[in-house]
Amino acid sequence: MSKLLTIGFKDLRIMFRDRAALILMLAAPFVLTLGLGLVTGGLSQSTGAVSNVPVVVVNNDAGTLGQSLATVITSADLAGLFDASVQGDVGAARSLVEEGTVAAAVIIPAGFTDSIIPSGASGQTGPLARVEVFRDPGRPVSSGVVQAVVESFINQVETGRIGGQIAIEQLLASGAVAPADVPQIAAAMGEQSGREANLDIIRVRNTASGAVSAAEIDPMSFLAPGMAMLFLMYTVSLGGRSILDEQREGTLARMLSTPTRGGQVLTGKTFGIYFVGVAQMMILIVASTLLFRLDWGDPLAVFALVLSIVAGAAGWGLLLAAVAKTPSQVSSVGMAMALLFGLIGGSFFGGTLTGPLGTLSKITPNAWGQDGFAMLARGDTLVDLLPAIAALWVMCFVLVAVAVAIFNRKGMLQR
C-alpha cells in the first residue's frame, strides 16, 4: 500500500509544480466561474431571467383601451421589467427595433378600442384592428416578455367582451331586456367589463421543492461545479498522459525493475490521477465558497460526491491512456473529451439534457455530478445522493477493468 501511495503522491507533487498545467486545472475553471457570476448576475444577486427590457409604445388609438394598454406597459408596476418609452411615430419606433436599441415596439392602431367596444349609438363594433408587437429577433426572450404582457392585456379585454356579449344575448333571448336598450347596455358593459373579468380564476401557486426555497438557491451553486467538472476531465487526461510519458522517458521501465509489480505501478498511477482530481475539485470548491459565498450544501455529502465524481473521471483518464498511442494524442483527445462531456453532461449550462442525449450523457461523470450538486443545492442529503454515487463508482470500476485489460494486452506492464 505504501508503494501505491508513494507513486500517487509523487504524481500529485509533479502536477502541482507544473505551472502550465495549473492554468487549465485551476485558473480556467475559476476565471470562467467568475465570468459566469458576472453574466448571470450571480455576483450582483439580481438573479432572474430578464430585466429592464427596453420597449417603445406607439398609441394611435383614440379610445380608452389603447390608452390603458400604453399605461400598463409604462406603468410603475412594470418599471423593473420594462424600460419603456412612448414614441409618436411608427416608423421611428420600428427603426429603434431594427437598430437593436429596443427589444420590441408595441404599435396600437387607430380604431383599436372601437373594434372591441360597441359604439353607444349603433351597437356595432368597428373593423378588426390588431395591436402589433414588432420584435427584435436577436432578443427572443426580452421581446417575448413584451408580447406576453400585451397578450395578457388583450385576453383580459377579450374575456370581458365575450362575457358582456353572452350576458346580453341571453338576456335578449329570455326577454329580460328589450332590443332597443341593447346598444346602451352593451356600451356600459364594455366600459367596465375589461376591469371586472377575473382572469386569474385558476391560480397557479408555485412552491419550489426541497428543504431550500427557490429564492434561496443561487444558480451559481450548480453552475460553478459544472466548470470545475469540465476541467476535471482535462486533468484526468493529463494524468493518463503521464503514464505514456513515463513509458516514453523510461521511468516506467525503471519503476518496474524495482521489486514493484506492474499492477502496483498502475494502481499507484491511478491513485495519482485520483489525488490530483480530488485536490483540484476541493481547491475550487473551497475557493468559490470563500470568494462567492456559495453554499454547496451538506459538506459531508459534497465531499462524498466529489470523491465519487473524481473516481468516475479517473476511470476515463486511465482508459484514454490505455487506448492512445502517443502522449500528445492523449492530450488532444483528452481536451476534446473534456469539452464533449462538458457539453452533453450539462457543465456549460448548469443543467442536464433530456431525450436521447440525456440518456447518452449518463456515461459522463459530469451529468451525474451536475445532478448531484443540483440536489445538494436544493437541500437534499447524502442518502438522496446514493444512487448517483453508486453509478459513479460502477463507472469507475468498469472503465478501470477495461483499461487494465488493454494495458495487459499491450504488455505495457511487463518487466
Binding site: G138, G160, A167, Q170, D200, T354, D384
Partner: protein
C-alpha cells in the same frame, strides 16, 4: 512575398501534422453548433416536451379539460399519476414540475370562486421555468371562458336579478358553453412581427449558436499563435530561421498570414455549414459578413501575437489561449445571449472584441444588417487589432 507565403504554408503543415487537429478545426465546432443550437432554439417536438406530473384529485370535466389543454401545448405534456407515484418520480428528479388538481376544483369554479392550483417545481432544473409557463398558459386557456361566463352571470344579474339558484346555474352553464365557442372563434387581436422580413424571422437558436461557436472555435487557435512563437523559441527554429536572409517583419507577417488564413478558412467552412445544415441566413450581405470576419480574425491574431510576448512556454500558451478564448466567448455573449446579462454588465462587456464580433454577426444573420450597420463594429475590431499588433510587435522577443 514568397517568403511570407512559405512561412505561412509551413505553419499550416505543422498545425495539421497531427490528424487530431481536425477534431478542433471542424468536428467539435460543428457538434457544438448543432447541440447548442438545438438547446437554445427550443424547437420542441412531441418527444422533447417538458413533462409535468399531474395528480388529479378532482376528476371532474374541468380538470380533464385542464389536462387536455396542457397536452395540447407545444412546450409541456401532462403525465397523470396517483399521488404516491408522482411524488416518487418528482423526488427522483424525473420531471421538473408536479401539479395537483385539488378535490373540489370543479365545484368551486362553477360557483365563481377562484381556485388555487398547487404546483411544485424543482428550481435546480432549468426546464422548471418552461413547465411553469406551460401550466400557467393552460390554466389561462381553461380559465378564460370560465371568467367570461362568470362575468356574464354577474352582469346579467345586475340588469335583472336571478329568481333562484337553479336559474343562475342554468344561466352559467349556457354562458360557459357560449363562452367556449366565442373564445375559440375570437379574432386574433395581436400580431407579432419581426425586424427581419424573411420566412423564418423568429429567433433562430442555430443562428445564435453558429455565430457564437464560430467565434469561440476560431478565437482559440488564433490566440494559439502565441504558442507557435513560444514553440519556435523553445526549439530554436526561430533563431535558425532568422540566421537566413529573412527579416524579422517578414517572419512576423508570415506567421500572421498563415494563422489568419487558416482562421478565415475555418470561418468560411463553419459559415457554409451553418447555411447548408441549419438554413442560417448568412447570404444577404456577403460583403458585410466578410468584412466582419476579417476584422475579427485580425483582432484575434493580433491578440495572439501580443499574448506571445507574455507567455513563457508553448504549453503555457496553449492553456492560456483556451482559458482566454472561452472566457472572452462567455463575456462576448457567445455562450449565452447578451440579453440575459444584467444591464450594467451588458455595457461592461463591450470592452472585449468578442462582444463586437458577436453583435455584428447576429445583426447580419438575424436583423438583416448590411455594411453600414455593422461599420462601427468593424471599426472597433480593427482598432483592437491595431492596438494588439502595436503592443505585440513592440514587445516581441526573438530569442
Amino acid at each position: 512575398m514568397s517568403k511570407i507565403l512559405s512561412i505561412a504554408w509551413k505553419d499550416t503543415q505543422v498545425r495539421f501534422a497531427s490528424r487530431s487537429e481536425i477534431l478542433f478545426f471542424l468536428l467539435l465546432p460543428i457538434l457544438f453548433t448543432a447541440l447548442v443550437g438545438q438547446t437554445s432554439s427550443g424547437q420542441a417536438n412531441a418527444d422533447r416536451r417538458v413533462v409535468v406530473l399531474v395528480v388529479n384529485q378532482d376528476g371532474g370535466a374541468l380538470a380533464t379539460d385542464l389536462i387536455d389543454t396542457m397536452n395540447g401545448s407545444t412546450a409541456i405534456r401532462a403525465e397523470v399519476l396517483d399521488a404516491g407515484e408522482a411524488a416518487r418520480r418528482f423526488d427522483d428528479r424525473d420531471a421538473p414540475a408536479l401539479v395537483t388538481i385539488p378535490a373540489g376544483f370543479e365545484a368551486a369554479l362553477r360557483s365563481g370562486q377562484a381556485v388555487e392550483l398547487p404546483m411544485e417545481t424543482d428550481a435546480t432544473n432549468l426546464n422548471s421555468l418552461v413547465a411553469e409557463q406551460g401550466v400557467r398558459a393552460a390554466a389561462g386557456v381553461v380559465g378564460r371562458p370560465l371568467a367570461a361566463a362568470l362575468l356574464s352571470v354577474a352582469q346579467a344579474g345586475q340588469v335583472r336579478p336571478f329568481a333562484d339558484d337553479a336559474e343562475r346555474i342554468a344561466f352559467f352553464d349556457s354562458s360557459l358553453a357560449a363562452a367556449r365557442d366565442l373564445t375559440a372563434s375570437a379574432p386574433v387581436r395581436i400580431e407579432a412581427t419581426s425586424a427581419v422580413e424573411s420566412d423564418d424571422s423568429s429567433w433562430n437558436g442555430y443562428a445564435f449558436a453558429s455565430a457564437g461557436q464560430l467565434i469561440i472555435w476560431t478565437l482559440i487557435p488564433l490566440l494559439g499563435t502565441a504558442a507557435l512563437f513560444a514553440f519556435e523559441r523553445e526549439t530554436g527554429t526561430l533563431q535558425r530561421l532568422l540566421t537566413t536572409a529573412t527579416r524579422k517583419p517578414t517572419y512576423l507577417s508570415g506567421v500572421v498570414t498563415g494563422q489568419l488564413g487558416m482562421g478565415l478558412v475555418q470561418m468560411a467552412i463553419l459559415i457554409g455549414f451553418g447555411a447548408l445544415a441549419f438554413k442560417i441566413n448568412w447570404g444577404d450581405n456577403p460583403a458585410a459578413l466578410a468584412a466582419v470576419l476579417v476584422a475579427f480574425g485580425l483582432a484575434a491574431v493580433a491578440m495572439g501575437v501580443m499574448l506571445g510576448t507574455l507567455v513563457r512556454s508553448s504549453r503555457q500558451a496553449s492553456g492560456v489561449s483556451i482559458l482566454l478564448g472561452m472566457t472572452l466567448g462567455l463575456l462576448g455573449g457567445c455562450m449565452w445571449p447578451l440579453e440575459f446579462f444584467p444591464p450594467a454588465v451588458q455595457r461592461i462587456v463591450h470592452l472585449v472584441p468578442t462582444t463586437w464580433a458577436m453583435e455584428a454577426l447576429t445583426d447580419i444573420s438575424m436583423r438583416g444588417a448590411g455594411l453600414p450597420q455593422v461599420m462601427p463594429n468593424i471599426a472597433v475590431l480593427l482598432g483592437f487589432a491595431a492596438l494588439f499588433f502595436v503592443l505585440g510587435v513592440w514587445r516581441f522577443r526573438y530569442e
